[in-house]
Amino acid sequence: MDQKLEVTILRPDDALHRGFWQLYGDIIKELTSNLWLIKQLFKSDMSSYRQSLLGIYWMIIVPFLSLLAILTLQESHVFNIGSLQVPYPVYAIMGLAFWQIFSMGLMSATASLVNSRELILKVNCSRKAIVIASIGRAMIGFGIQIAVLYVLFLCYGIQPTPYFFLLPLMVLPLLLLTLSFGFILALLNCIIRDVGMGLGFLLTVSLLLTPVFYVKPAQGWLAHMTQFNLLYYLIDVPRSLVLTGSSSAITGYTVSTIVSFLLFVETLKLFHLTEHRIAEKI
């Protein structure tokens, strides 16, 4: 047998003794060697649509139903949307597309490890791959909603700005933020199921507090709170850029992007330091 085989050493708290670069080296090596696994897990996740009559079309139907709900909301004047330069359905659907990548992604990521309990208990496969693959469905949903948005542009005769083509890039910070929370919540959900149970409520509250369906108020406590809401910048700035070509919160977006990136790097490390406890606690 080849004497140059790699030696794996497992010791308690082993990752704690690794230096900064070694630690991130391990993480990058694990992620790059598991890209194929991430793709396969994503495909497996999407296969749950197979026993559905409408299958993948649900992902198209849901945005249209959301559009109907939004139009009803607009007509009923339930709450003050604020003044807009574009038709409200366009504004709301775009906000919804961004919001859902966060909410759906976070829900899936949080439940991902618990849902893969049998796999984690029986096979030593990458737990990071499981969490990352789980947000794939939210990304597909985002793509479909953007396609619906394009149809709306055509219907309303609106010409999107060139920023429209930068959407995949502009959504990246939001994806990083989703994964950052996802890593930590997935880990905690393995230990305490309350995390998964309470998340739906927290997301609803967050949706109400984040200007997704309404314009950021100019004053009051909500306006003050929104200043510190990363989600607001990560959703509203790309939306404004696509719809109007400008945004007054570019600085906020830049800061939010940096914070999201740093959070992602840090939570990835924290997940790496503690993930070996998952199998015995799940």
Partner: protein, 415 residues
């Protein structure tokens, strides 16, 4: 790590918590410690925690097949999961050389909605194979699993046998440097099991190190170079296969007698009786002075007293008395009719049947005796089940191999 060892464990321990709520609190505390780059001091036992594995040290050479045996709950699966990296040790160190493949559960990660073909790719990826490797091995996996015609059917419609075949086919074709097998070879039909055993031998011959957990001692004897015996989380024996099996058998006998003080008198499961017309009241072992015993020295007579309750008349009963062990059910099988002894027709009532096995030369170990009762006139098997058995121990020097001891004469002559 010595270059000869594929697996090396030094003082490995693993602890669990008995209380779920405390386990949650401890987990939060441990994770918080790790997040702050602090040690969780996993070597300390907290309230309600216990050692599932304690201070296990072993070294398995490259290319060896090592067996791992022990009673249920002795820590076999935990040990495999630690070596595989699913669990992390709380103390000690585990070193493995090369890629690991684990057959701890067949088909873990299969998606029921995906076809067999898609699941080969999914499961292969989970087990660490690249797309290219899976494509290269696809035909071999398909041929090994024998499910070609159902390959495009969702696996949720597979029979359990097909499911097992596909799972095992993928796992054994991963060609790891170290393969961990946990009881899964008992799954599937005999033909497929034989195929898997051949595959393991083939892997061994190509230098793969294998750890095999099995309760099938024939398999252990056939495949293993060395066997480790685990009990209550500790390694109590490491060495030659037959000696390990003898140790394990002795351990099981001790456990049975300590758990059920009457174990050497009777194991009785009323659901296992073939007929309501008969029941075993007692099985006892007697010495020459007719006193009840539970062990005897090697080469001595074995006298068994079966007490049975008959609820109807039995015509020309054929009583069979057998002695067997975990490996072989009928090492000795005697009937009254073979010995030209007839009891005629016997009516309802309680009977004592005394059978003396004359100097059976059994090797030291744990054996069990089973009584069978057959109504020859009605052609009815009234009683014959291993659950209605009595265990006893033959003491003496444990031989390297074999069940029966006898003297032998040897002659070496140069022609």
């Amino acid at each position: 790590m010595s270059k000869h060892f594929a697996i090396e464990l030094k003082g490995v321990s693993k602890k669990y918590c008995k209380n779920l709520r405390k386990s949650m609190l401890y987990s939060i505390s441990d994770i918080a410690h790790n997040m702050l780059h602090l040690s969780s001091h996993s070597e300390r036992l907290r309230d309600n925690e216990f050692w599932s594995l304690k201070d296990v040290s072993l070294a398995i050479e490259t290319g060896q097949v090592a067996g791992l045996i022990g009673p249920n709950g002795s820590g076999k699966t935990t040990l495999l999961k630690l070596i595989d990296g699913i669990f992390w040790p709380d103390t000690g160190e585990i070193r493995t050389r090369g890629t690991l493949g684990a057959l701890i559960s067949v088909g873990a990660g299969f998606h029921p909605m995906l076809s067999g073909r898609e699941n080969i790719f999914l499961n292969g990826a989970i087990l660490g194979l690249s797309k290219c490797e899976i494509q290269k091995k696809f035909d071999q996996i398909m041929a090994f699993s024998e499910i070609e015609q159902f390959l495009d059917m969702p696996v949720k419609n597979y029979s359990s046998g097909m499911f097992v075949r596909l799972g095992l086919a993928i796992a054994v074709h991963c060609r790891p440097d170290i393969l961990l097998v946990d009881e899964v070879l008992s799954l599937g039909d005999q033909l497929f099991r034989n195929k898997c055993v051949k595959k393991i031998i083939e892997l061994k011959n190509t230098g793969t190190t294998v750890i095999l957990v099995a309760h099938n001692f024939d398999l252990i004897q056939m495949l293993c170079d060395n066997v480790y015996v685990l009990h209550e989380g500790s390694l109590i024996f490491a060495g030659e296969t037959n000696q390990a099996i003898a140790q394990y058998s002795a351990l099981m006998a001790d456990l049975r007698s300590s758990r059920h003080p009457a174990a050497f008198c009777l194991h009785f499961d009323p659901t296992q009786t073939f007929s309501d017309d008969i029941s075993v009241v007692k099985i006892g072992l007697l010495n020459d002075q007719n006193a009840t015993i539970d062990q005897m020295g090697e080469g001595e007579d074995i006298t068994v007293l079966y007490t049975i309750q008959l609820n109807r008349e039995v015509c020309q009963p054929r009583f069979s008395a057998s002695i067997g062990n975990d490996m072989l059910k009928n090492i000795i099988w005697q009937t009254n009719l073979e010995q030209k002894i007839e009891f005629g027709n016997i009516g309802p009532g309680t009977y004592e049947l005394k059978v003396k096995f004359v100097k059976p030369s059994l090797s030291p170990g744990v054996y069990e005796t089973v009584l069978g009762v057959y109504d020859t006139e009605k052609g009815e098997n009234m009683l014959n089940h291993r659950l209605q058995s009595s265990q006893f121990r033959v003491t003496g020097h444990i031989p390297l191999r074999g069940i029966i001891k006898c003297s032998s004469e040897w002659l070496l002559k140069k022609k």
